[in-house]
């Protein structure tokens, strides 16, 4: 930034502007926000995906424009940790009351072999009316997981053909502008998610 010419600096409106900017900056420092989840602003790409849902073969970030998005990778044959995480996210969103509509939970299956978009819809809706179940081709999921550094691995099937999928437990929170902001997991309470969602909705 080039310093303003002394002539400009002497103008009363400029001084007033400079003073208010200083006050604003000071104010920001004083109320620096505390996040219950981990602040990962800028650490990952903005929200972008091309997935299949029950109603749309190409459901993309454009369909969630203006929404705060909780993105979670899991699989439906996971009876414990995935539903636990989804239940907490559902409770957090429900507790926002009328602001719940400003948030979406995006459950992305890393098990496209078993989890169809129709089943994923029923699954997601069981946790929250604001939840969306989606998946893609194995290649599509691989690329999206790579983009957000999500690891997953289908383990060897048992004699009945059942298999466990080991996967990252992260819940990525994107603000309404699609910027990545926070990282949570099944270790975080519904209250922690609720606190941070309220803050994101109030001061984007």
């Amino acid at each position: 930034m080039t310093p303003p010419s002394s002539a400009v600096a002497r103008l009363p409106w400029f001084r007033a502007l400079a003073l208010s900017l200083l006050l604003l900056a000071g104010g920001c420092f004083h109320r620096s926000l505390h996040w219950d989840l981990t602040d990962i602003s800028g650490a990952l790409p903005n929200l972008q995906f091309d997935l299949a849902t029950k109603d749309r073969p190409h459901f993309t970030e454009a369909d969630l424009r203006g929404k705060v998005v909780l993105m979670y990778f899991g699989y439906m044959h996971c009876p414990d940790v995935c539903p636990l995480t989804m239940a907490r996210l559902g409770e957090a969103v429900r507790s926002l009351g009328k602001d719940a509509d400003r948030v979406r939970i995006l459950f992305i299956s890393v098990d496209p072999k078993r989890d169809t978009p129709a089943l994923l819809h029923a699954y997601a809706q069981a946790f929250s009316p604001e939840a969306i179940g989606a998946t893609s081709s194995p290649e599509g999921i691989r690329d999206l997981a790579k983009l957000y550094r999500v690891a997953y691995q289908a383990e060897a099937p048992d004699p009945d053909g059942n298999y466990v999928v080991t996967h990252s437990k992260g819940v990525y929170v994107f603000d309404a502008a699609g910027r990545v902001r926070l990282l949570g997991s099944d270790s975080d309470s519904a209250q922690a998610f609720e606190h941070d969602l309220r803050q994101l909705l109030q001061s984007p």
């Binding site: 009876p79 636990l84 239940a87 990252s168």
Partner: protein, 166 residues
């Protein structure tokens, strides 16, 4: 309307109480199938907060409960069966050193003397697979817990909605 004899009144139990029965040491799975299961369980074992998290589409569901051991001897849970599911396994969810989540079957779970063992979300749980009939929230799933001493404890687990939080 004709008068009818009233059936004998049954005492209502609190929902979390397991359905207890008579002890029958050395009972085999086969004999249990044929006859009403002997609701025994090892002495001193009590069950608290049993529940199942319902999932749609007949997906595998998790059963949770706390085993309280008021006796002076360790007890060991070695497995479970259910008339409502074709398969029940003891499972544990765990975090790998790299932070990823996984799940695996376990064959034994100790309930320490004068202590307790929790089967709760994110840790030990009963993996209930392949419903024998449609199950929905509000139902009660029956599970027979098998212990190392051969005794079996029959437990009723209320089915809660998917979004149930602890």
């Amino acid at each position: 309307m004709t008068a009818r004899a009233h059936p004998p009144k049954r005492r209502r139990r609190p929902g979390w109480l397991p359905v207890l029965g008579l002890a029958l040491a050395g009972a085999t799975g086969a004999s249990l199938r044929a006859a009403p299961p002997p609701p025994a369980g090892p002495p001193g074992i009590e069950v608290r907060q049993p529940w199942v998290r319902w999932l749609p589409a007949g997906l595998p569901a998790a059963g949770y409960l706390t085993l309280v051991n008021i006796s002076g001897e360790d007890r060991t849970l070695t497995g479970a069966t259910s008339p409502d599911y074709a398969s029940v396994m003891l499972h544990v969810s765990y975090t790998l050193p790299n932070g990823d989540m996984s799940m695996r079957p376990i064959s034994r779970l100790r309930v320490p003397a004068h202590g307790e063992q929790k089967l709760s979300p994110g840790g030990y749980h009963l993996m209930l697979m392949r419903q024998r009939h449609p199950i929905k929230p509000g139902d009660t799933v029956t599970v027979d817990l098998k212990f190392a001493d051969g005794r079996i404890l029959r437990v009723g687990l209320p089915v809660k909605p998917a979004g149930q939080t602890e």
